[in-house]
Amino acid sequence: MTKERLQTSSVDAIKPPRTNIGVVGWLRANLFSTWYNSLLTLVTLYVLWKIIPPFIRWAFIDSLWTSTGEACQAVDGACWSIIPANIRFIMFGFYPYTQQWRPAIAVVALVALLVYSQFRPNWKKRLIYIWLAGLVGMGVLMRGGIFGLTPVESTKWGGLPLTLLLAVFGLTAAYPLGIVLALGRQSRMPAVKSLCVVYIELIRGVPLISLLFMSSVVFPLFLPEGVTVNKILRAQVAIILFTAAYIAEVVRGGLQGMPKGQYEAAESLGLNYYQTMRLIILPQALKIVIPPSVSILISAFKDTSLVVIIALYDLLKTTQSVLGDPRWMAYSAEAYVFLALVYFICCFYMSNFSRKLEHQLDTGR
């Protein structure tokens, strides 16, 4: 009894001083460890104090959320009313008003598919078929014409569905092309290799906007007389060609990361080139490059906003046309902040996923 008490009291006695533990200790270690660090903390706090309270007042306290544009002129704060008042146009563009449930379902389905595919137990062959079925289903839903759905011209597609379709279709179609280009670049055949190198370096050397320009003004000249391809598809082709070059470089990184022994082992088993690639090299190389591929998906998603320049009505362009309305003209900051939030949430989610995946796959090898 006494021994035990003695022990506990001695444990108490060697507890660290109060200034080294708990909140105070944490503050001392992380914010005020040296005079220099203390100064930095104080300066940062001062800057934050200058920025955050005025922002909160602007965004929340003095703001209006559901009013008309005229009512907003009376207040100092943000006029978030621009968003609910125009949300249908921002999200779906010129899609017929009564039919807008269709793109809404398509978007929800696409997001559900993306969320479903992020769990590794679901990564089976079945997933590819689910995706194919999903993409076809979305196309039918958007386009209509069968099952009693009113047909909707693709020129009327716009807003979030367009942004998502350009990004997801772009990446899906660019991936096989990128793999072929990467294999071509690694090839020992000089003609194939140089073709692939020229293509990859050419595309990576020019900005996406020059390809979009090409798709909108030069591409129609390439086609024989009477054949026209609609503008969205042309932009989609430009995005695919652009993304494929970047995917090729990522995949090449994976191929180069393969130990030489893998190639030699496959060769010594008597596998030919296609068997080696399909059965031995690509499954391993593609696994390595999954995280950087997600980064490419993120940049493809951000890059779809560039179609604004060739006047396609993606999320950014629909927002801009709302701002063209004299009633809402003065509230561009609110509209852009909302849009930034939409993009941020999507990209942040994806990059978090990529980081987590990198961590998981790293331990797997």
Binding site: N30, L31, S33, N37, L40, T41, T44, L45, L48, R188, M189, P190, A191, V192, L195, E201, L202, R204, G205, V206, P207, I209, S210, F213, M214, V217, V218, P220, L221, F222, L223, P224, E225, I298, K302, D303, S305, L306, V308, I309, L316, Q320, L323, M329, A330, S332, A333, Y336, V337, L339, A340, Y343, F344, C347, F348, S351
Partner: protein, 398 residues
């Protein structure tokens, strides 16, 4: 091919494999096939294009470059008017691209380095702020950021009459950023000359100091001396030339400012957008570079008696830079390519001028080809630099 040699020596297989199993012949066939397909595709596209051009009566070739452009350009580094040729208009555009990229790159490196170091700071608050900055600015499309800053300048900022006076002589209004500069005086020319002389002096000092250190082992404080020469020499010249302090300050006259330098809202918005966006990526590059040098390196350097400045200069930086420079150059290239988005907010850089040219002449192919060529020149120059740099770094490596 090694297989050929073995089959040659072991002549036990009497039946020779048919020629279509020979990898060399297969490779030739395959390549001829690929080339033929690419050639056919090219031929198809070219003939279609020629047909279309002829039918739509569009001129071909670069003859239009010599014609009068007859459009004005808002801002230009060289003298330009609507009476000049398309060639000169495109040159103006290219110079504007270079200008915004050059200033953008310098500012991005400075800001990105600061944020990257802040991310690694032991100060929790600063590190978290840097992390939030990096995540936030990376995840918003650059075009949206450009639009935001442009709207900020045009919609949110007041007229020149109610311009925001940031500091003495610096105004912010919807005409852009306006600030005072020192009034013209010959002293500034001499100062620039003194600075160039200073650079030469620093170079010579450094050579001498290295030689002396190799011979005697004594260390000369090159960095402090260089700083002294580079700052001291121009200041001395300024003082000797009569120490002019007159400033050319912007003054509000009527509806606009006169005097000083006006930076247009377009330029400021493009610069701000590009710098804030790219700095987030550069910060990650810098962080990764610094983290790549293990702590043992610092400790080992300290244990052989190097001073902190020497540790940074001789041990940390050479290793960190090897990791930092390649991705940094590609970020710089990205910034240059992203500057083409300035076309969306009306800053007259190359793509914008080329776009106007395409609209006026209808010669889309030539216009797009020019855009691609210009950017390819930038990229190829950069990758040539990268190859040179990597080679140099390899030589240093043991």
């Amino acid at each position: 091919m090694p297989q050929d040699d073995t089959s040659h020596t072991s002549a036990v297989t009497p039946s020779k494999a048919p020629f279509w199993y020979d990898p060399k012949i297969r490779a030739v066939f395959f390549q001829v096939g690929v080339l033929a397909m690419v050639g056919l595709l090219g031929y198809y596209l070219v003939t279609n294009t020629l047909d279309n051009l002829e039918r739509q009566d569009i001129a071909t070739g670069f003859g239009f470059l010599e014609k009068q452009s007859s459009f004005e350009i808002g801002e230009s580094l060289i003298s330009y008017s609507a009476a000049d040729t398309y060639l000169r208009a495109l040159l103006v555009g290219a110079l504007n691209t270079l200008l915004v990229s050059f200033i953008g790159i310098i500012l991005t490196i400075i800001l990105g380095t600061f944020i990257g170091i802040a991310r690694l700071s032991t100060n929790w608050l600063l590190s978290k702020m840097a992390a939030i900055y990096i995540e936030f600015f990376q995840d918003i499309p650059i075009l949206l950021q450009l639009f935001f800053w442009y709207a900020f300048f045009y919609v949110s900022l007041p007229q020149p009459k109610q311009a925001i006076n940031l500091f003495k002589g610096i105004y912010l209004c919807n005409r852009g950023l306006i600030f005072g500069i020192p009034a013209a005086h010959p002293a500034y020319k001499y100062m620039a000359l003194a600075f160039l002389l200073g650079c030469l002096a620093v170079y010579l000092t450094r050579r001498w100091a290295r030689k002396r250190q190799d011979e005697t082992g004594r260390i000369f404080p090159v960095f402090k001396a260089a700083l002294g020469i580079l700052i001291g020499l121009p200041v001395l010249t300024w003082w000797a030339a009569g120490a002019p302090t007159a400033m050319n300050l912007p003054v509000l006259r009527g509806f606009n400012f006169q005097g000083g330098i006006t930076v247009s809202p377009e330029f400021t918005a493009v610069l701000l957008g590009l710098v804030l966006y790219t700095a987030a990526f550069v910060a990650e590059v810098v962080r990764a570079g610094i983290q790549s040098v293990s702590k043992g390196q610092t400790e080992a350097a300290a244990s052989i008696g190097l001073k902190p400045g020497q540790i940074l200069n001789l041990v940390i930086l050479p290793q960190a830079l090897r990791v930092i420079i390649p991705p940094l150059t590609s970020q710089m290239l990205n910034l240059t390519k992203n500057s083409s988005l300035a076309v969306a907010i009306g800053y007259p850089e190359f793509v914008s001028v080329a776009g106007t040219t395409i609209n006026q002449t209808g010669q889309a192919i030539e216009g797009v080809a020019l855009i691609m060529t210009i950017y390819l020149i930038f990229s190829l120059t950069t990758s040539a630099f990268m190859n040179w740099y990597n080679k140099k770094m390899k030589l240093v490596e043991r």
